[in-house]
């Protein structure tokens, strides 16, 4: 039975694991990993518990940068799907070896809802980015006063407890004709946001859409494209993505393959999906689904992009779905990627994956998401990092059809020094799940009376639920 996290915790030895950690160049060398006080530690004698990995691969705990399950209206979509209840999303992530989920989309008004929902997840930590409302910042953008926008954004992040800022749409177009002079072009917005004077606010997350990469060509490093997959419809899109990443752009895929993909859009376009919600942004957020199947150009382009990924690309592999892509989609995509990479590199091993593939996977699903979210002590296996690690039952000779199964059900999961899964089943180990927020006060006193808060129907102290202002 796992001990609860405490000052001492449990001293754990993960013995003989093939470790994959791109931050240290580990490509499957068999090592012993030591866990003490909830963190990876230097070797010590007499562990309380030894987990014998028997050569199985160990990676840092997975991080999902594009989870979307705490928006207004999602309960309605779940009800429409006719399922028997969504079950425990946190458990679903833990089963696949994930320990942290980030939701890119929250607004000033919905931050309380998002936080409240994320706090209810079991096993995994969570975080969210908060959206800037360009309607409140129009004057500053037009005047190019980036540092002032930075100060407002910093305070907004503090008030809402967000981990960073998000831009649902990088331009502004008012519905009413008489506000036409207040419209903002993408160029002006991106120029103003490139000079926030606060490096901690970067990267600014922007929801991906065709055409965005052209706009970002001049300043790729300041922005993170959420949902790059939507640009991958065509071969031209693939080349643009590769060029964007080559120039230092940051992105996550935000795409599920083989299951109902969950598409959100915040652009001023006709809402055709089952739900569109005005949630405090200039345009309604519309939710829709589509199914991407193997053989489709977008599917091939996704695989092609992943296989071409260079070590210096700031690309994360993320999956969007109503329940976080917890069905077959995610493991199948990962499995196809491993197989494809093995074949591309002329693999001759009897199995369908190799060390290079798992090394690349560790970078795409662990290291890069952690770096883009600023989670410095996660996503890698260095001494001092949070002890979040996962062991998959991936034998060297595993058949291709079993690969997705092995990735869907991790063999062992340790989170913050507590063993959550062992030998493929959940233990009774429990670990407190946090909604990660930046340190500092969250009462927003400095923003009282500014445009940002004049337009909320709730009082400042009620904008968050159970967490804001703690």
């Amino acid at each position: 039975m796992g001990k609860p996290v405490g000052p001492e915790g449990e001293k754990i030895l993960v013995h003989a694991a093939a470790a994959y950690d791109p931050s240290q160049g580990w490509k499957g060398e068999v090592r012993d990993l030591f866990v003490a006080r909830g963190r990876l530690s230097e070797p010590f004698p007499d562990p309380d518990r030894t987990i014998d990995a028997e050569g199985r691969p160990v990676l840092a705990g997975g991080i999902e940068p594009h989870g979307l399950f705490a928006c207004p209206g999602l309960a309605f979509l779940e009800g429409c799907s006719g399922s028997e209840g969504r079950g425990d999303i946190g458990e679903g992530y833990a089963r696949m070896g994930y320990v942290h989920v980030h939701q890119p989309l929250a607004t000033l008004v919905t931050a309380g809802l998002v936080r409240h929902r994320l706090k209810g997840l079991s096993y995994v930590d969570a975080s969210y980015s908060v959206a800037l409302d360009l309607r409140d910042l129009g004057g500053l953008v037009r005047a190019g006063r980036g540092p002032e926008i930075g100060r407002v954004a910093r305070e907004l992040v503090r008030v809402t407890g967000g981990l960073g800022i998000f831009l649902a749409c990088p331009f502004l177009k008012h519905r009413q004709r008489h506000y036409i002079q207040k419209n903002l072009t993408t160029k002006k917005v991106l120029a103003a946001l490139s000079d926030l004077g606060d490096e901690g606010l970067y990267p600014v997350r922007i929801l991906g859409y065709p055409g965005l990469l052209d706009e970002l060509a001049e300043r790729p490093g300041k922005f993170h494209v959420c949902g790059l997959g939507r640009v991958l419809e065509t071969h031209d899109g693939l080349e643009k993505c590769a060029a964007f990443l080559d120039r230092g752009g940051r992105a996550d895929l935000g795409l599920a393959v083989g299951e109902e993909e969950f598409v959100i859009s915040c652009l001023p376009e006709p809402a055709a999906g089952p739900l569109s919600v005005d949630m405090g942004l200039p345009f309604p957020v519309s939710f829709s689904f589509r199914r991407i199947c193997p053989g489709e150009s977008i599917f091939e382009n996704v695989l092609s992009l992943l296989c071409r990924a260079e070590p210096d690309w700031r690309l994360s592999l993320s999956v969007s779905g109503l329940t976080g892509g917890l069905g077959k989609g995610r493991p199948e995509l990962l499995a196809r990627f491993l197989c494809e990479l093995h074949r591309t590199r002329g693999g001759d091993r009897p199995g369908c994956w190799d060390a290079e593939g798992l090394y690349a996977l560790a970078r795409l699903t662990r290291l890069e998401p952690a770096r883009s979210l600023g989670l410095e002590d996660m996503g890698h296996l260095r001494v001092g990092a949070r002890a979040c690690l996962v062991v998959y039952d991936l034998r060297p000779d595993i058949r291709e059809d079993r690969l997705a199964e092995a990735l869907a059900e991790c063999w062992c999961l340790v989170k913050d020094g507590v063993v959550i899964r062992e030998e493929g089943t959940f233990t009774d180990g429990r670990v407190p799940c946090r909604v990660v927020s930046p340190p500092g006060r969250m009462d927003g006193v400095e923003l009282r009376g500014t445009d940002l808060f004049e337009n909320a129907t709730l009082r400042m102290e009620n904008l968050g639920v159970a967490g804001i202002g703690e």
């Binding site: 309960a75 009800g79 309380g112 519905r175 006709p270 089952p274 009620n462």
Partner: protein
Amino acid sequence: MSVEKFTRQFLQADEEGRLETQDGSLASESGVEGLESRVCCGCSCLCDDISYQMRQGQVVRSLNLCQVGRKRLQDASAARQGADSGLTEGLLEDSLDKAAQILRTHGPVLFVGAEFLDEEAQQASVRLAKALGGIWVPWAFEAVRRFHQVACKMGWAAALLDDVRDHAEVVIFWRCDPLVTHHRHLSRYSFFARGRFTERGHHDRTLAAVGEKGCRIERLCKQFLDVPPDQDRALAESLRRGRAQEGFAHRDFDGIRKACEQGVYIAIFVDPEAVDPGTLETIFLWAAETNQAGGSRRVVILPLYRTGPNLEGFCQVSTAACGAPWGADFSEAAGRSIQRDWQELAAQGGCVFLLYPAGREESRPLPATIAGKPSIVLDPFSPSRADLLDVTIQVELGGLGAEGVFFRADGVPLRASGLPGLPRFGLKSAAEVLESLFTRIL
């Protein structure tokens, strides 16, 4: 009145010794405590600008409470004082034992009224219903089901109340009257409120309503369509097509048509219970066609249910627990959603567990088919009703004596923190009582 002015007046009145408590008696003792920015859980507006002045554990004055909130506060305060003399630990334990006995022996249990409870209590009630194989529904389950099914079929354009306040140039109340059910809806969100693009409040908006002649909102409306219910669909179709359909005529139709044509943002509040599915579908179709037309116009539809303050929370808890927002019948198969009507449902129940008293505020009288069956009620108001029902368990009222999370009509959660300093008199929250029952039964 601002909070500052309210406080100033209060202190002045206090000094002059002319302060009155909620029950009308004079109070001039010291020990005044001011509480600002509290949440009222009287309806799904969840007004968060309520201020109270308290003295010795009693609310002596309040600011911004509407008629519904005030009545609720007064009734609950009176009941709490009644509990002071009547409620003992032993009595509560006896009631819980008796309730557990009924729940065990008279299945399936019909759980009704969880939309009046906070989220934690709702979760406790659905857990209990699942464990007992009971039926767990809100009073307005038929309305929720109707709205949800039509929205799923037609696609739904929704909005937060913030966006309605900021954008709505035309507001239509379709067979719902906020002046009866949601008193401050107009002033906080939909009509008088000044928004980002409606800076002059009601001067920037057209208010229209569809309803019975003589309803309260009529006098505020620029256009009021007092059409008989069987003409609702013709009206919706006429609005959708932009011209009066054959056989439909009303003197205000042209006015509302023009307002809708000129308005960039139209918000329709509808009570799904009072509107037939065909009309509801036509309204949704109108919204979908407008929103997909590609212009800048937008039509959003928001349900305005005539029921408890936390129906949205109920829908979310219900969807997570069983996949449908209108509750579930756990007696047949796990999570099977209900497709029957009230009378059939009530007839199926072996006993009824009222999570909020029947016939109060926007809860309904019990269907005739449940009459005579054993009943249990969680009642924050009337301990004297014990003789009318088999078991009455007095509980703290959420947002007054007990803290809890409630969801506003648009799904935004708020923590109603309760009033500190109120003596508890041994009262438990609804969640605590439900958990106690859960422990007893299992």
